[in-house]
Symmetry: C2
Amino acid sequence: MKRKAPLAVALLHYPIVDRQGTVCATNITNFDIHDIARSCRVYGVEKYFLIHPMQEQLMFVERVLDHWRTGEGARMNPMRRTALTDVETATDIPSALHKWGQPNARIVATHARQLPGQEKFSFSGFKSILEEDSDPYLLIFGTGFGLTQDFMRNCYAVLDPIKGDSKDDYRHLCVRSAVSICLDRLLGSW
Amino acid sequence: MKRKAPLAVALLHYPIVDRQGTVCATNITNFDIHDIARSCRVYGVEKYFLIHPMQEQLMFVERVLDHWRTGEGARMNPMRRTALTDVETATDIPSALHKWGQPNARIVATHARQLPGQEKFSFSGFKSILEEDSDPYLLIFGTGFGLTQDFMRNCYAVLDPIKGDSKDDYRHLCVRSAVSICLDRLLGSW
């Protein structure tokens, strides 16, 4: 636990780009709740926010959380309850930051490809910042085909893309894997 | 592409330990097909095997693969087809190695906790081996509550567990995240 800077993770469902490049809102999926909550819990992330502008979508998340936190799921699988302790819903980023108690946290976006003219964080650079600074950071992951360029331009920085090691530079990680790899690079020790 | 050693990944569904420590076979889940295939594809893994002794379970996988490779899914999402190119099913490890064309590949197991008296690979040690050797390796991930101790004792080595950074040493990553993090540590460059 060398880290000093408070860090939270958010999964954004709007504004998001779809396959055709159109701005849209995506549906929340059950696996995004559990898999990302577990990764955040393993790496000691303070909060994991699922962000969606529609209350109906957030109510779906709350029903899932209730099942595992206080319902039958809590008795059947107590470790799943532990994983979901720090999961929260929010309609937008300011309300997530308010719930976290860090209204001035710096927003760092993630994307599968490099964007020209954007302030960049390398993984090792951001890792050092998290270990040495005490400013709070919110790390944002997009769904669908990713965050919009407008959204990223308004962020404090964008984290370097994960490149992998394929011959054809294939980069279509699912967001659950992308979160896990980013947290391991930023917070893991081995 | 510094790597020289052929590497494949397998997700094992039998023999597996359940919550009570009993040996069982687990069901194959749809997300394990897609998420892990995409991570393997991004990191240039040669083959990804879903291993289950029951033909019915493997037929479920083959139906999913058909949908995305040649059915409606291939037209709707060609990148998903690309991700699934190197996915195969097998009833057991020898038949997976045979399909791969590497019957003598060395089996490396993974587990969330350290096992006493077992030959261990550190991530950096195994990474060097993959870069410098030309012997083939099959990296095995368990489902349920993990691989059995008997199974691991018969493997060539067991990879170090992923420790994370939580105050209470919580280590319940989903297998999809565990695969992604392991591949990034072994094959990623950043």
